[in-house]
Symmetry: C2
Subunit: 399 residues, 2 copies
């Protein structure tokens, strides 16, 4: 027997695997960047590594036979997550919660449960494309509802739902980030939350409420999650420890109708999240230190946000409009009509500064009129330095 | 606006999510079981928890900003895995390796890369159904090749490939567990390995070589992995730390053609495995303690295996044939024609003993003539007690 040269491994690939679009992690920058405002990262100096080390030591000394074995995530982690959900007024129970490798894993499983090719999914514009692209890749037909300074425009949503119903189309779900929205930082007020969930129930569409940043409020009144405004199951609430503990532990969760949770678990085909990490994080949460830690984070991010807003007021042309967030990681800047976000990015990169252009935040091609600046992960002196550089590049572009 | 009662959440589910077949974890036992030989679990008292605690402390003290952040798995973990692969003679490089949440995650991604509904996948009979069911659920048409005391019968495989070729069918891949096979414990000798890979190359079919247990050899000659017997990329080698370090860390890997690795990464849609755990395990491996630990495991499992075989020789009817493995976790027993594995299981459960009936190891409905006994995770006195009970149940069934 000899190998037949006519056979190639590539011929074995299924149709869906022929075209290669691998994930890219930090491979896109070609310039030397000294100040990046691009990513929604926590400040690494704030990771609670000492307390996580204590939790790891306890788990490995006391619970190794369970924590290192096959099995579901720690019961204690479910309890801690359920406590945190209930503290927000959400009806959480063990059969209403799934834990995943980050909330983005769970959001990425939504198409498996809800989307046949061509099904309509409603998203915000701008939005978090990291997740929304997964909906599109699974064959969803995306419809974008504009976001203004009060979050998703629910009147446009209503008109859209009416129009779709006339066409006999029932969207599968509405993906929203109501609190400290990514990328705009805006927060949806209560009246819009109520109207959104009422529309969802009226038109029989699930609301997927992504609350990644909700713990990080540094001003303004705490608002009830949309999930608390409906008791018929029309809201799936999704959150994460990535912004409060650390992303590298990869833990997020969803809470909602048990029929949805069961199906998400079914398509989470590699099985439950790793027992070891789940035990460590559960122990850390159970010490009660997380809430104090979140207060520290809030103080830090509030300081950084204020610093960035002050620097912007000082350094940017007055016709750049920066939205002032009540929490989260981002300042969204609307550019004047003569300045393109991508032209600005190219010019700023030459000076070592980067950010996310608005075009990377819209599923419908818009966004060259805005930029997202993350104040979260740069040290304070870099924030000042970077905004000053951006300001001078903005002025240069006008010469 | 009021909710329209005619809308139900269940109507939103995609066709694939309508019928619910959630994973079951330990929910199947209704009797009180005192000795379980059922699962392929490591002995929890052997988990290297002290050394993992030291590694966790080091990582959190020295590498927290990276280990707790977003990002790929630790570079050091890739290095450690590549070193271990090369020590087996496998041509491993960074672009030929993917790390997953256990090898079962990676095996579960194979259908995404290779299988269109109806495509043929060749499996062993018996085999590890935990993985093979994922191939079937993805729409693969499974063809079972029998396993004898030398592993997969490659002559039957050849006849099958010839027959399929006549029908114009090119199978996508051949899933094999050549070393300390699950469930039979048998090891495929070199001549069969060579013929298997030669057939794969001749017929243009990928070999997926699952080497979960390969480190745990307690007798016999070390054999080259099938992956070392072909340099054209026709073998994807898959292994795990679940049997050597601990399953609760959820780390496995595959090594093979970069075009396959890239595509597996593309369908591993939740992103790279968690940085924290990857750093901890890399540190533990880099201390060099893993190889000593594996020697300890081998001594323990050899003792338990011998104990089980002795007890079987003493307690079972002489016409029950137990296969003697050279490593791994399992003793496979062929039952005489008058005894059904499932009848035996029902009777044994009444006496507090359980095991895996052969029917849970075949994709084609066979297997009521054999049982899998895991010696790996019961303490020695329980092995003796459980085999004695099984022996008396076997004799009872004949009265």
């Amino acid at each position: 027997m000899t190998s037949t040269p006519s056979y190639r491994i590539a011929d074995l690939f299924a149709e869906r695997a022929r075209n290669l679009t691998p994930p890219t992690y930090g491979t896109e920058l070609t310039k030397i960047i000294t100040v990046s405002f691009a990513y929604g990262l926590a400040d690494p100096i704030l990771f609670p590594h000492t307390d996580l080390a204590a939790a790891s030591a306890t788990v490995l000394a006391q619970e190794a036979p369970t924590a290192l074995n096959y099995g579901p995530p720690s019961d204690q982690l479910y309890e801690q997550i359920i406590l945190r959900l209930r503290a927000r007024g959400i009806a959480a129970d063990r059969d209403r919660v799934i834990i995943g490798y980050g909330s983005s894993q769970i959001l990425g499983l939504l198409p498996d449960v809800f989307v046949e090719p061509g099904d309509v999914v409603i998203v915000e514009g701008p939005t978090f494309l990291g997740v929304v692209n997964k909906f599109a890749n699974a064959g969803a037909h995306l419809i974008t509802i504009p976001v203004d300074e009060l979050g998703m425009d629910v009147d446009v949503l209503e008109a859209t739902l009416i129009d779709l119903k006339k066409q006999g189309i029932r969207p599968r779900f509405i993906y929203t980030i109501p609190t400290f929205h990514n990328p705009t930082g805006v927060t949806m007020p209560l009246f819009r939350r109520k109207k959104l969930v009422a529309l969802a129930a009226e038109y029989g569409v699930l609301v997927v409420e992504d609350e990644a940043y909700t713990d990080l409020r540094f001003r303004g009144e705490v608002l009830p999650p949309i999930a608390t405004l409906n008791d018929e199951g029309w809201v799936l609430y999704v959150s994460t420890f990535s912004k409060t503990i650390a992303p590298g532990i990869r833990l997020g969760w969803a809470c909602g109708d048990p029929a949805i949770i069961e199906r998400l678990a079914m398509f989470k085909s590699e099985g439950p999240v790793g027992p070891f990490v789940s035990h460590v994080v559960a122990h850390y949460c159970a010490t009660g230190k997380l809430d104090n830690h979140i207060q520290d984070l809030i103080a830090c991010y509030q300081h950084k946000c204020n610093l960035m807003l002050e620097a912007i007021a000082h350094e940017f042309p007055s016709d750049v409009v920066a939205l002032r967030p009540d929490g989260g990681f981002f300042v969204w800047c609307k550019l004047p009509p003569d300045i393109s976000a991508n032209t600005l990015l190219t010019a700023a990169s030459e000076h070592g500064v980067t950010f996310l252009p608005g075009t990377r935040c819209y599923a419908n091609g818009q966004g060259d009129d805005a930029i997202r600046l993350a104040f979260s992960f740069q040290p304070t002196e870099k924030i000042v330095e970077g905004i000053a550089i951006l300001g001078s590049v903005l002025r240069e572009l006008r010469r």
